[in-house]
């Protein structure tokens, strides 16, 4: 059957609004093949869920980003590892993101969100995507890792540069992004050296002075791990906060509900993770031939599992294309599934909830100013800039 739909996550159309394409794929091409890029794609909930759980058939080891971005975190990019190495490296940082530690961060989180919001209200408007949705997580993850506050503007700049892509070739990391990645690593290398001499109560001190159960930890692994946590702790999370704020812009009735009853905000965050997840998809590589619907992904085939498509599967949700914060709880795949499930999910949910509750408290009538600008990175769906008025 000739394929009448084009799924290419590097194309501008897809970056602007991929959801109509996903609907076509789920309906007509549940195993999709983009011949030009030679990538396969799964879009139905059941297929995506099963493939994500089966790390032996669908390995992450060739990078979970189609553009290979995660290779920058080598050699400790556990997001690209398989058990047992994955389990061991993840175990090093799991405690830092465990519920007992996440809860301790709540007072800091609330006070910093208040501080930012008071500043914005005073000013009358702000770029909510950059100044707030990134600014707040940047503050929190830096606190967890142990970075001093005066270093944050420089680190924020590096971070922004690492994820930047050129519109004419967004498949390749531009030289400035590669350089910024090296600068971040150099920063963490110096920090690790310092924490070996002057250990404190922070994640960097723990990583710089610990070992794996089976062996010593390499210096490169310490810095790669911090780089990864720093990136994931700001960049993916900022998308979740921004997309929730943006969804409330598009749904004034539901905004009123949440302003009147802030306990609805956690459900709104969860619903955003379903309806418009900031990390739209991940790549895997088939380790053997796998058959779907009479066709096959050959061994070695790069395969995209699309969380954003699976999460709108009509077989799983009523009115799946609509954002509805009053839905009954059901498992969405925005945080992943199985061994690679987001290690920071408890912290991400809490931060997003606090961020959105604080905005709704200070500026329940917030409105868009000017033209929002989308991020142009293949796997990310959120805004680079979203200016809002707060008065």
């Amino acid at each position: 059957m000739p394929v009448s739909v084009v799924y290419d996550p590097f194309l501008n159309d897809c970056l602007q609004n991929p959801y109509p394409t996903y609907a076509e794929m789920r309906e007509h091409y549940p195993l999709y093949h983009n011949e030009e890029r030679d990538i396969y794609a799964l879009s139905r909930y059941a297929d995506v869920k099963a493939a994500a759980s089966d790390w032996e058939t669908f390995t992450s080891e060739e990078s979970v980003d189609l553009d290979g971005s995660t290779l920058q975190f080598r050699p400790a990019n556990f997001v690209d590892f398989s058990p047992p190495q994955h389990t061991e490296i993840r175990g090093l940082v799991r405690d830092a993101f465990a519920p007992k530690h996440v809860r301790k961060l709540e007072p800091l989180l609330r006070s910093h969100a208040d501080k930012l919001m008071r500043e914005f209200v005073e000013r009358g408007e702000c770029d909510i995507a950059w100044e707030y949705s990134s600014g707040l997580p940047l503050h929190i993850i830096s606190h967890v890792i142990g970075m001093p506050e005066e270093d944050l503007p420089q680190m924020a700049y590096y971070l922004k540069t690492v994820v930047s892509r050129d519109p004419e070739d967004n498949m390749t990391l531009p030289p400035r992004a590669v350089q910024a990645g090296k600068d971040i690593r150099a920063y963490f290398t110096a920090m690790a050296e310092d924490r070996r001499k002057n250990p404190r109560d922070d994640l960097m001190s723990h990583l710089a002075n610990t070992r794996l159960p089976s062996r010593e930890l390499e210096e490169d692994e310490v810095t790669g791990l911090c780089f990864f946590l720093f990136m994931a702790g700001v960049d993916n999370l900022s998308g979740l906060i921004t997309n929730t704020i943006s969804a409330f812009l598009e749904h004034p009735d539901q905004r009123r509900l949440a302003v009147d009853d802030p306990t609805l905000v956690p459900a709104a965050v969860e619903e955003t993770m379903r309806w418009d997840p900031p990390l739209q998809m991940m790549a895997r590589t088939a380790t053997r031939d796998v058959e779907y619907y009479g066709e096959k992904i050959p061994a070695g085939g790069r395969t995209v599992i699309i969380w954003g498509a699976a999460n709108r599967d009509h077989a799983e949700w009523d009115h799946a294309e609509e954002w509805d914060i009053t839905r009954p709880p059901k498992r969405q795949l925005g945080f992943g599934e199985g061994v690679h499930f987001c290690i920071g999910a408890p912290l991400a949910r809490l931060q997003s909830t606090v961020a959105v509750q604080t905005l709704l408290k200070y500026a329940p009538q917030y409105a868009v100013v000017g033209e929002p600008e989308r991020v142009l990175k293949s796997n990310i769906r959120t805004f680079e800039h979203l200016t809002i008025s707060l008065r």
Binding site: A98, P99, V102, P329, E337, G338, I343, A345, R349
Partner: protein
């Protein structure tokens, strides 16, 4: 209603503890344990914990 955790499946991510702290905790081996003998039918927090488990390790009966 009663809640159970399959410790073979549990991998200690702790999402259940965040969703429903009155029903779950992590033990010293980072495995989820149930700390409430009985929870109300249709308890929203527990339902979120059940569906939110990355390993589908929680069941109710």
């Amino acid at each position: 209603m009663k809640v159970a955790v399959d410790q073979e499946l549990c991998d200690g991510y702790g999402n259940c503890v965040m969703n429903a702290p009155e029903a779950f905790d992590l033990d010293d081996n980072d495995k989820a344990i149930v700390i409430a003998d009985e929870v109300p039918d249709g308890d929203g927090a527990v339902e979120r914990a059940v569906v939110g488990c990355p390993f589908n390790a929680i069941s109710t009966h």
